[in-house]
């Protein structure tokens, strides 16, 4: 088989299976917390004296309540607008599954492509370690600066956060490459600089972290996100390593 097609097949197998697994984990663990947060959000949107609106933190509006629009005009608006959104229930879950599977394939393509640069994954076990690297790069490092957040939680401007997120991902990936493949003292020192630099620069933060979400719910959500993504990356890497042996072998 053509090399490019083999990479895509391996990534598709890993991404689809890990994406389905991740969707199940999310429905069990993270989505119930998101739905709970949306209740706090709706409550604070209808109650003008809530801490969120008092702090100038705007409502998290899904376009359902027209009265929330007034709050959404304020600084730091958390507005989903009037655009199309999937209906709650099966439709919403189906789109979450679609997003998980599609991005699972995307992450798998990156993982397989990166590992091919270094000779390719030799079996599922090596795949798991590459998956752990993906977890450090895409979840742990950016999550230190931008903690997983629930609906209704205030955050800095989206564009700035996305730039910081991408910068942190690239910097952490380079650091791991220097650590594991360049293997010299200067490279190791530079790797630590690259690991630390994004956090010295600092992620964009909102003016105030005040929100209607209880701290313990947020804390549980952070733990749930970190652990479900850890399992996702382990599964993605392991499956990619397993499929690589079968579809690319030692070509």
């Amino acid at each position: 088989m053509d090399y490019f097609r083999s990479i895509v097949v391996v990534a598709a197998i890993a991404g689809i299976v890990a994406g389905i697994g991740m969707t199940i984990a999310q429905q069990l663990v993270t989505v119930p917390m998101i739905l709970k947060a949306e209740l706090f959000e709706a409550q604070s949107a209808s109650d003008g004296s809530s801490p969120a609106t008092a702090a100038g933190v705007a409502a998290h509006d899904h376009g359902a309540q027209s009265e929330a629009h007034g709050h959404a005009e304020q600084a730091g608006a958390h507005d989903h607008g009037d655009g199309w959104a999937p209906a709650d229930g099966i439709e919403r879950t189906a789109f979450t599954l679609l997003a998980n599977v599609v991005t699972g394939v995307g992450f798998a393509l990156l993982l397989v492509a990166a590992s091919e640069l270094f000779g390719g994954l030799a079996g599922w076990r090596q795949g798991v370690f590459w998956g752990l690297a993906g977890f450090v790069i895409f979840t742990l490092a950016p999550g230190l600066g931008l903690a997983p957040e629930l609906p209704a939680m205030p955050a800095a401007e989206l564009g700035a956060r996305q730039i910081w997120w991408v910068g942190t991902v690239v910097s952490t990936a380079l650091a791991l490459w220097l650590l594991f493949y360049v293997k010299s003292l200067p490279a190791t020192v530079l790797a630590f600089v690259l690991l630390i630099a994004p956090h010295v620069i600092g992620a964009p933060q909102p003016a105030s972290h005040e929100s209607p979400i209880p701290d313990n719910l947020h804390h549980s959500f952070i733990v749930a996100v970190v652990l479900t993504t850890l399992v996702f990356w382990g599964l993605l890497g392991g499956l990619a390593g397993y499929a690589r042996e079968r579809f690319i072998g030692h070509a």
Partner: protein, 64 residues
């Protein structure tokens, strides 16, 4: 087990540097991956955002 050890032995020999004809497909695959993740996780298009809402929160992508 025997096949396994022969395999890893041949792995050592075939762990060659990346040749040009393999580099192009690898970079194409990586670009495709970046394009997919960017499209789903970073889109500012409202409908795309709303569809992937729970996913973005659950993966801790910068959201909203």
């Amino acid at each position: 087990m025997t096949t396994r050890s022969t395999k890893s032995a041949s792995d050592q020999n075939s762990a060659v540097a990346l040749t040009a004809d393999r580099a192009v497909p690898v970079f194409m695959a990586a670009l495709l991956g970046i394009f997919i993740i960017g499209g789903v996780g970073f889109s500012h298009i409202e409908a795309v955002h709303n569809a992937a809402h729970d996913y973005r929160h659950s993966m801790a992508f910068p959201c909203h």
